[in-house]
């Protein structure tokens, strides 16, 4: 038996069951759409997570704590003061931060010049703690010759293959680094090539040099000071909350111009733009797909309303208001899209997990050396699943179902009851 509160929902469910073939056709479109949506979002998010991780580990982390002007000047005079560094290290131990941290590395990064007997090239010189940096960075994995820096190294340099070729260097060759020191003087440092890397990003391979932190500090007269504290967190989605806590904890230092806390989006605007553009492309594609699906739903539901004109007329003759009639049509649309959307999402999750959990290999379309936005793009994309995406997809599908039912519902409310009662199908 029916009850008053649930009568519209029950009527809607029974109507969907009665017109099973029509319901199945509409549901099939929504199931395919929902599955494709989850697949593309999981793959897209997985790819972006990989890009972000790659960008963070090649540069200054997911979050970097720097002197306020350092991002633009790259000068040693914009380094963090020892008091600011101490405050930052304390903030990094706070709840809400520490549990997300994978690695924290101090860096002394400056722009300078690398010269050999053959010529000179602009260089991005980073003084690093060899052990901590090896944990943090991907560069040690990109070794093609020699070795990465070791704790006992003093005059060692780990350089890119592009720089090696441009300066006509070899493993063991000596060359000179020149940069402005802490006193504002131009100062040089002789180093020897101990290892060569090839990151796949030409800009990095031609400019980046890692050298021991102690050597860099002594050369530039900055002692233990750093220009950047690079922070790697467990996943990119943890960046906003961790940044919020850090900014709250370091409020005084930030307000007094002692430091900035930058997310990877702020530190790497090219990568941020690449992720946003790719997301936008994904959303446009989904918009077109669901636009077509919505038109299909409008057509099916509208045909259903026309076919059931007499039924709607009867409902109104018995006391259904036009609004209740419209609600019934919308309920049918929403219930159908919600159920089929859930099935579609479940199917999409299952298929993506079952077939592609080890990664979707795109190496047939691009090779390992493809790069953009300062990162090397891995051709194997591992999908990333998140409850947030499932919820977003469900809300989107429900919105499509509701929107697609609005016009048919409007038509149902405008039915001439007496005419509809005469209607013979």
């Amino acid at each position: 038996m029916l009850s008053r509160e649930t009568s519209i929902v029950r009527l809607a469910l029974r109507n969907l069951r009665r017109y099973a073939r029509r319901s199945a056709l509409t549901a099939a479109a929504m199931i395919v759409g929902g599955a494709l949506m989850i697949f593309s979002l999981s793959i897209g998010d997985g790819g972006h997570e990989d890009w972000i991780k790659s960008g963070a580990r090649m540069g200054s982390g997911h979050i970097s704590i720097q002197g306020p002007g350092f991002k633009t000047t790259r000068k040693i005079e914009d380094r963090l003061s020892s008091a600011a560094r101490a405050a930052a290290e304390t903030a990094l131990q706070q709840a809400g931060v520490v549990e997300h941290i994978v690695a924290v590395v101090p860096q002394l990064a400056i722009g300078g010049l690398a010269s050999s007997t053959t010529g000179a090239r602009p260089a991005q010189i980073i003084g690093v703690d060899p052990i901590a940096e090896a944990e943090f960075s991907m560069l040690d994995d990109k070794l093609v010759e020699g070795r990465y820096l070791e704790p006992d190294d003093r005059l060692a340099a780990y350089i890119g293959a592009g720089m090696l070729e441009a300066l006509d260097l070899r493993l063991g060759s000596r060359f000179v680094l020149t940069a402005q020191d802490a006193d504002g003087e131009i100062s040089g440092q002789l180093v020897r090539v101990v290892g060569v890397f090839r990151s796949g990003v030409p800009e990095i391979d031609q400019a980046l040099i890692h050298m021991p932190f102690a050597t860099a500090g002594s050369w530039l007269g900055s002692g233990e000071d750093v220009t950047t504290i690079a922070v790697l967190v467990d996943r990119s989605r943890a960046v906003p909350p961790v940044t919020r806590v850090l900014r709250r904890e370091l409020f005084d230092e930030i307000e007094t111009g002692q430091m900035d806390v930058l997310t990877w989006r702020e530190a790497s605007p090219e990568l941020d733009a690449a992720v946003r553009i790719d997301d936008l492309g994904n959303y446009v594609w989904q918009g077109i797909m669901f636009g077509i699906i919505a038109l299909g739903i409008v057509n099916t539901v509208l045909m259903s309303v026309m076919y059931r004109k007499r039924e709607f007329g009867l409902l109104q003759a018995l006391g259904f208001t036009p609004r209740q009639t419209g609600s019934l049509v919308i309920t049918e649309g929403v219930v159908l899209t919600a159920i089929s959307g859930l099935f579609g999402i479940a199917l999409g999750l299952f298929l993506t997990w079952f077939f592609f959990r080890e990664g979707l290999d795109f190496s047939f379309t691009w090779d390992e050396d493809w790069s953009f936005g300062g990162i090397a793009v891995d051709p194997i994309i591992i999908p990333m699943f998140s409850a947030r995406r499932v919820l977003q997809s469900l809300v989107f599908i429900l919105a499509i179902g509701t929107l697609a039912s609005l016009y048919p519902a409007y038509r149902a409310t405008r039915i001439d009851v007496a005419e509809a009662m005469k209607f013979e199908r």
């Binding site: 009568s7 039924e311 009867l314 259904f320 007496a418």
Partner: protein
Amino acid sequence: MNEHNAAAVRTEEVWKIFEQEAEEVQAVRGVSLTIEPGEFTAMAGPSGSGKTTLLNLIGGLTRSTRGGVWVAGQDLTTMSNRNLARMRLDQIGFIFQAYNLLPVLTAAENAEFPLLLQGVDNLKAWRTGVRASCRAVNSSESRSFARWSASRPWYWRMSRPQTSTPPLAMLFSK
């Protein structure tokens, strides 16, 4: 109580004109009538003479082109669609020419549907009655409308208007 309020149904010079492509069809032309509470009235006339259209006007299923229609003192010509629906639910019982049952409801649910819309809280007593009635006609209340209407169309056409609170007007078109 004025004249309109006293009558169960009253029409005054009511017209219903359908605009067709080439010409207009005057389905109801200036009908004035008064039906008192408790009165049984029958209309007779040839097919196409406007009997059903007049019943539709009285039942609030269609609006008059001109003239007035009052049911229980309420002017149907100025009522909103929502209020017309409410009036049809609360004050008018229809017995249609066709079965006009809702195909997705069982026989018993079809019969109790107006009660649901009226928001009757306790349907227990009514449901006991349904079961008794079903036994009386040797069938089951959970049977689909199709089987019911095939076997007992007249019974079910009558049952629905009688389930709601006593109507002010019971309209029957044959």
